[in-house]
Amino acid sequence: MKFLFIAGIFVLVAMGSGTYVNDSDMHISNLTEYIGNTLTACNSCHVMGAVYESWYHGDHKNRAECSDCHIPHDPITKYVVKAESGIRDVTAVITGNVPEVIRTTENSQKIIQGNCLHCHEQTVGNIADSKRNDERYCFECHRTVAHGERGISLSPYQEGK
């Protein structure tokens, strides 16, 4: 945990100092934008383009933004997670170590699950029992609610536009 906090501070400082801001593809111009809940923060990164697009065409566009699902609602964890994933994502982009296919980590799957429940608690009270450790993720059935059908890749023709 301690590591995460230190790492978090590192990334926040890094972002604030503007080491890589002002780039044409990376519109993060200040700290608040990345910390904030806005879509632009995530979409500022070109590698998030495809998931942004699929979210845009998914069922939850008018209901939830990226951080509603991917960042914990609890005020403290929220920033730790942001720092942690912020460091990882930024490092990945800077070093060019972007995986060919981006997939959620187990941690973030748990976060998403928590957030589904956060909004839908009342509806699923009868069937979702978070005390049991063998619970299934909501998105194992609801495979398309968040990001639509998978594999709807942007074509290189369209991506630049």
Binding site: D74, V80, G114, N126, D134, R136, H142
Partner: protein
């Protein structure tokens, strides 16, 4: 730390009335769970047909008269119907003409919510030994909540001792299974191939070597078991019965993807604000928006493909049935020859037995292949090939191609 992010659990199993353990009367449970109970009641009156299934109890023999030849002498050639909803189980087992005064109590094993109580009281060996007519006096309820749930916790449990023992014979203990696994295993209380072992007609699932058709065939061959002697070919036969669990869990697409029986047959539905599992268990094709729609955004795609698969399997079943009937008739003709080679004829009969066991593993499975298309087709292929080999062996036994049956059915 992330734990904080999880909401408190309030799974709706707060019971207003205390239901006694193994209570056979589902209406009692229904006081606590009106949604589950009222959907469960629908299984009584469902009548809709689908192309290959549904809830209308038509005669399978009328739809496909070839079955009369294939099952000749087994009882299934007399009365064999499409199954229907759970609440009809008692009515149907009591009115089927396969029942006679030698029928053991074992036939009630999968038909009543009285069973868990009776098994606890008298033990399964005694239950099975008692004659059907005698045992029936203690049986008043069709399938009900007690067949699947533990009253105090409402969790899913294995209630049929035969399943408990079959799992043990494979070194498995259902008490260690996850909730998602139980959503499939609970159906295996009944939707499995079984036989009656020994004089006491002890209910047994032939799973010791595994649950593939090859394993089951080896099991029966090993103990030299037969259900009946084929009335035309004379082969020692096995009647395979509803192996839904075995077929589905044989590495099928959906099983491997972590999908359970309940996901399709008891999809979540909504009454007011709360989601619950519909207990109106039936063909998911009668309910595809719910049953397939949560996972497959394009329900039309899913059902179109299901229809394609079912028609491919049906087509393949037809080819296989033709081969089996040709084998049966040719063996019969060979046996009528003045001096057939009896050793070779026995080989032909053994081939008929094996071929038909495979075909029946698909035919008696109630999804027309959908639960595991590739496995069903692979098995049918092997069945058709064995049936034709049986026919060839019969020709050899007769010593003359004149016995070859070329007719059509």
């Amino acid at each position: 730390m992330y734990i904080n992010n999880q909401p408190v659990s309030n799974r709706g199993i707060n019971q207003i009335f205390e239901v006694p353990a193994m209570e056979p009367d589902s209406a009692q449970w229904g006081l606590n769970f009106p949604n589950q109970y009222s959907t469960f009641l629908l299984t009584k009156t469902n009548q809709n047909r689908t192309k290959y299934g549904g809830s209308f109890p038509y005669s399978k023999l009328e739809i496909n008269p070839r079955l009369v030849i294939l099952y000749a002498g087994s009882g299934y050639d007399i009365d064999y119907n499409e199954e229907r909803g759970h609440l009809n189980s008692l009515t149907d087992v009591r009115s089927i003409e396969r029942i006679n005064n030698k029928t053991p109590g074992t036939c009630y094993s999968c038909k009543s919510s009285d069973n868990p109580g009776l098994w606890a009281k008298m033990g399964m060996a005694e239950f099975d030994k008692t004659m059907f007519s005698e045992l029936g006096k203690n049986i008043n309820n069709p399938i009900g909540c007690a067949n699947c749930h533990e009253a105090s916790t409402m969790r899913l449990v294995v209630t049929n001792p035969a399943l408990d023992e079959a799992l043990k014979s494979q070194g498995k203990d259902w008490r260690t299974f996850t909730r998602q696994e139980m959503r499939t295993v609970v159906c295996a209380n009944c939707h499995v191939e079984y036989y009656f072992a020994g004089e006491g007609k002890y209910l047994t699932f032939p799973w010791k070597n595994g649950t593939r058709i090859e394993d089951i065939t080896a099991y029966y061959d090993n103990i030299g078991f037969k259900d009946w002697q084929h009335a035309i070919s004379g082969a020692p036969m096995i009647k395979i019965q509803h192996p839904e669990y075995e077929m589905y869990t044989a590495d099928s697409t959906h099983y491997r993807a972590g999908v359970s029986c309940a996901d399709c047959h008891m999809p979540y539905t909504r009454e007011g604000a709360a989601k619950f599992s519909t207990h109106d268990v039936k063909s998911p094709l009668l309910n595809a928006n719910l049953a397939c729609g949560a996972c497959h955004r394009d329900v039309e795609y899913a059902t179109y493909r299901a229809a394609t698969i079912q028609s491919q399997v049906q087509m393949s079943m037809n080819v296989t049935e033709d081969a089996l009937i040709a084998a049966i008739k040719t063996i019969k003709a060979a046996s009528l020859k003045p001096d057939p080679d009896m050793k070779v004829l026995a080989e032909a009969r053994q081939l008929h037995r094996e071929a038909q066991m495979r075909w029946d593993f698909v035919a008696a499975e109630n999804s027309m292949g959908f639960h595991n298309p590739e496995e069903a087709l692979r098995i049918l292929l092997s069945s058709a090939d064995l049936a034709r080999q049986a026919q060839l062996k019969a020709v050899q036994a007769a010593g003359s191609p004149a016995v070859i049956w070329n007719g059509s059915h």
